[in-house]
């Protein structure tokens, strides 16, 4: 416990009565008032998440593009101007090192936003891949705070506090702006399935931005939301979580991320393995399950169909927006299709579930 890192807002979370948990080496807020309430608030108005535990890595130098292109499965060429891209980062065997966001910066630099728990591993991997290239790799995580304001009222709440116009900022686009007087990188991204923004700025300004944002948004329903709600929200939106739907032994193609794998962009780590998978067809694929019987499906629980084990749950939970128990699962390809009934083994008892199309939840767009 001694070497757990505290986010710049640690004291704020304690003062707000948050239940703190260890997450990726950090002490982070799991919940404030309750996961279900925070989840519903994000779906109906807006929630503010401290995600300062995420890692930020800058890649610069003459070969920065070349390095990023080699690292990620998506096409780094798409990350230009105000476009942010999401991408898996693979090992040569097609397993996933991490999944990340790539922001292009001035002067041919890139900002990579990675998962907290993977940051050190990612840094080592990126540096290893930079050998022989004219590229510098810098960890700016400690100096960077990240907040995510998510929900249908996010724009309405954030706009009056921001110098610069946000309404015209498209999905997965970024801009620079001042929020409450603080220089921020603002992107229309998130991990909840709702409209929203992520703000990156100097860590020392975090308490000021956090307090003022919460105060200003209060009457429109904004409140702090913790990692617990972030997880149920992303699960309903069927967004993958590293260590669950992605990992060294799961390829992005198995996880249903074909859109982010550009086999025709030239060579990159994992290309040959992923091309072979594409050619032969993946052996497993990610499906969505909704429980018919009672019981909460959890990671690792076996799934059977016709008495035969066909796969395992990767993530499962009660879904507050659906008021049902749901799960993502990796199953042997070709064994089941949408609408099929399977059984999830919960503590040795078989409970019925039905296979559904993903995502479980999709926000209604205006």
């Amino acid at each position: 416990m001694a070497d757990l890192k505290k986010p710049p807002l640690y004291e704020e979370h304690l003062a707000a009565g948050a239940k703190m948990v260890e997450f990726g080496g950090w002490m982070m807020p799991l919940q404030y008032t309750g996961i279900i309430e925070e989840h519903r608030r994000v779906r109906s108005s807006a929630g503010l998440f401290d995600v300062s535990h995420m890692g930020e890595i800058v890649v610069k130098g003459y070969d920065a593009f070349k390095l990023v292109q080699k690292l990620i499965t998506n096409d780094a060429g798409r990350a230009r101007g105000d476009r942010v891209i999401y991408s898996p980062m693979c090992y040569p065997d097609g397993g996933v090192v991490d999944d990340l966001l790539v922001y292009p910066r001035d002067g041919g630099e890139y900002l990579l936003v990675v998962n907290a728990a993977n940051k050190d591993k990612d840094l080592a991997w990126i540096r290893e891949n930079a050998v022989g290239l004219a590229a510098e790799v810098e960890d700016v995580s400690a100096a960077t705070a990240q907040l995510a304001i998510q929900g249908p009222k996010a724009l309405e709440i954030l706009q009056p506090l921001t110098e610069g116009e946000l309404a015209s900022l498209g999905y997965y686009r970024w801009t620079r702006g001042r929020v409450l007087g603080v220089d921020c990188l603002i992107s229309r991204t998130g991990y909840t399935g709702e409209d929203g923004f992520e703000l990156y700025f100097a860590a020392e300004a975090a308490p000021h931005v956090w307090r003022r944002l919460l105060a200003a948004g209060k009457e429109k329903g904004l409140a702090a939301a913790g990692l617990g709600a972030r997880d149920t929200l992303r699960l309903e939106a069927a967004l993958p979580l590293y260590g669950h739907e992605l990992g060294p032994d799961i390829s992005p193609l198995e996880a249903g991320l074909e859109r982010f794998v550009c086999l025709d962009k030239g060579d990159f780590n994992g290309r040959a393995a992923l091309a072979a998978q594409q050619e032969e067809g993946v052996k497993r694929r990610l499906v969505g399950l909704i429980m018919v019987d009672r019981g909460v499906p959890r990671q690792g629980y076996p799934i059977t169909a016709g008495g035969r084990e066909i796969g395992r749950i990767t993530s499962g939970s009660y879904a507050p927006s659906l008021e049902k128990n749901i799960a993502l699962a990796l199953v042997a390809a070709g064994t089941i299709s949408t609408g099929a009934e399977v059984e999830v083994s919960i503590r040795g008892r078989l409970n019925r579930a039905v296979v559904v199309n993903l995502p479980f939840y999709r926000r209604s767009k205006k």
């Binding site: 799991l30 309750g34 996961i35 019981g295 009660y318 507050p320 503590r347």
Partner: protein, 130 residues
């Protein structure tokens, strides 16, 4: 947080209300608060025999599943079936509507191994690092 004086408490955060040989069992206010939103409960069948320390059910919050242990042994004589449809009663009213089972105690002397309200309150303070 409530610690009713008429109840006995286990170190696993269950409470016991004794009436004659009958013991009503649930999880404490501290336990429900630590778990967060409860979304599912698995309970035993009436007639099941439990020894003190046996796991008799599971309480699941949004985040996790936790076993619940019998503070005293005996035969299950009643089960709060209403919890299957409204497990959130445990959050709202842990000592009332949130009760889980009743057992006919096989050895009422086992009550002696449990804590009173004051001792349990002390344990909770220690667990919370206060």
């Amino acid at each position: 947080m409530e610690f009713p004086a008429n109840l006995y408490y286990s170190k696993d955060h269950e409470w016991v209300e004794v009436e004659g040989n009958r013991a009503r069992i649930g999880i404490t206010d501290y336990a429900q608060e630590s778990l967060g939103d409860i979304v599912f409960v698995e309970l035993p069948q009436v007639g099941d025999e439990l020894a003190a320390g046996d796991s008799f059910g599971v309480v699941e919050s949004v985040k996790s599943a936790s076993d619940v242990y019998a503070p005293v042994g005996g035969k299950v004589v009643a089960v709060n079936e209403a919890l299957l449809d409204s497990p959130q009663d445990i959050n709202a009213d842990p000592y009332g509507k949130g009760w889980m089972i009743e057992v006919e105690m096989s050895d009422p002397a086992e009550i002696e191994n449990l804590m009173d309200s004051g001792a349990y309150q002390q344990l909770v303070k220690e667990e919370k690092g206060e």
